[in-house]
Symmetry: C2
Amino acid sequence: MSDPQEASTASSPPQRRRPTIYDIAERLSLNPSTVSRALNKPGRINSETEARVRAVAQELGFRVNRAARALPTGTTGTYGLILPDITNPVHFALIRGVEEVTRSRGFTLTISESEGSAATEKEAITSLQNAVDGLLVVASRLAPEVLVELAAITPIVASNSASDALPSVIPDIAPGLEQAILHLKELGHRSIAYLGLSGADASQINRGKWDLLFDLATAQGLSIVEIPITAPTVDGGAESLRRIVASGTTAVFAYNDLVAHGVLRAARTANVRVPDDFSLIGFDDIFSAELAVPALTTLRVPLREIGSTAMSILLDPASNRTPSQQTLPIEFIVRESTSSAPSR
Amino acid sequence: MSDPQEASTASSPPQRRRPTIYDIAERLSLNPSTVSRALNKPGRINSETEARVRAVAQELGFRVNRAARALPTGTTGTYGLILPDITNPVHFALIRGVEEVTRSRGFTLTISESEGSAATEKEAITSLQNAVDGLLVVASRLAPEVLVELAAITPIVASNSASDALPSVIPDIAPGLEQAILHLKELGHRSIAYLGLSGADASQINRGKWDLLFDLATAQGLSIVEIPITAPTVDGGAESLRRIVASGTTAVFAYNDLVAHGVLRAARTANVRVPDDFSLIGFDDIFSAELAVPALTTLRVPLREIGSTAMSILLDPASNRTPSQQTLPIEFIVRESTSSAPSR
DNA sequence: CTGTTAGCGCTTTCAT
DNA sequence: ATGAAAGCGCTAACAG
């Protein structure tokens, strides 16, 4: 390595050390604390000096050092979003909603994954808690007690998983599901299936769907069965086609749109016709749902609103520590994958 | 508000102030600096005291305060990813690649959006630079000079946009495009169209595609036209159907798979048959490409590898300041949306 | 309205 | 191998 001095003499941008409030204070023969006030408490200072401070700050390209600010204040100005899988299209709209409110309020967002595992989720949370002012945890797999305990460190709001000890915002699936069941009944369907995730890592949401569907179906005199899928993915859905056909049901609810896409794909290669041979209803309404052939009838979850609502709660110190249960209704969207029950 | 003392006596987790290295030093009658060393420079200290320190740290649930560490060291341990649109499926695989290497190395990632605008991008960069050790900028719209200038503050690596003054990793589109053109020629196509983004905000990548396609097509004696789209989206693609049909070309390259999806959707409602009436080739190979009907023939960009490679460069102090041009080849994937040219 | 002072929690010479 | 002390850049009392 050559003399560093040499480097800064080279043709590339001179760019020395980042300016600090001391630099600007010195230029103006002011005290650093005055500069700090000028920059952060507009109005609480002589407006002329404030203007001069701002001018110099601008000129020097000053930007506060966030770490330095975080130390005395104890706040970082960044919030964390933890979800099972960043790249799952199911979360897009939610991410968008979260990102929007976070950014519009001038905070920055960091995103981390839990991989759908409780252990990784806990690790992600504790690791992030040292760098954020609050956490939004989506579809948590953690036991409520541990989530609550973690929330003692840094506010946590839960989304897509209920908790009566934390602020949480979840979809209200009852109205949409009810409509869907009625829709199916009107079309003459008598027996339906639910393609659900089973096993220990199954999310709360999954249980809720099945339980409600079960009640709704039986209340309407429809028979219902659960067909387990191995994963909430396209492939998981595709694998289940054989069991769907074997079940003899005429209408199936998929765990989510990804699974429904898989069913569609498998049906197409197996020459099973949807909705002629059986009707299919997805869940979430991800962007590709309307692109599918046939376009997916689905239950739209207001993910974007869920995200923005949850983040608004998190950003509000008055509400981010108080248990609450916001609930946003899902909506039934009829497209092409449902039709009259086949005559048997 | 009641006496805070009272609160910590309540039934909810007592959870006092986060423990610091002072707390653990005190417990062990050690100096904080020793604790710091024990935790950060394994081996450079008496192994027995190191063990005791670790034990107490564990017991207290100690976690370093990142801001406090960032101050003296000047590094934060977090890196930033800036891309036009988080929720664009085109970026999924890239995000995954980036996330993987970042996390596997123990760093944390923060993601921000540029909204495809140069101004927002610059704002996002400068804002993040105060909180990260390096930035990965995807599909930059910024002029090379300004990017370079910003890189003086914090290392920047560019991805999906070339720069000869920055480390960058981009797809090598030549081989795949060549294959695709040959494929079309063999199928008897004589005239092709490119659905491209025009206007000032058009990315570098777009220009590259068109230029290369142009050269390749003319070299093969095929006629080629550019059909402008208003946006690189499903709707943008759908809108272009009329012009595609009017153009009389028999094969079209879409700017990306989203656009191709739009074309497919519009074609379906207009009773235009793909690939019977014209062949369609997408770009990127997003997850829904194979789900489309017909399944999309497309050019797969190794986004995940691009992401992981770019992040590896960024994380390596030996390479994140040295201009370089990594290039990863795209791959031509034949599915169902291309077939013989219609006889005219 | 502005200057002084102390300190956030950690790392890092410099001593010992 | 460990201790002492200073300092990173900023904020927040407390004075004046």
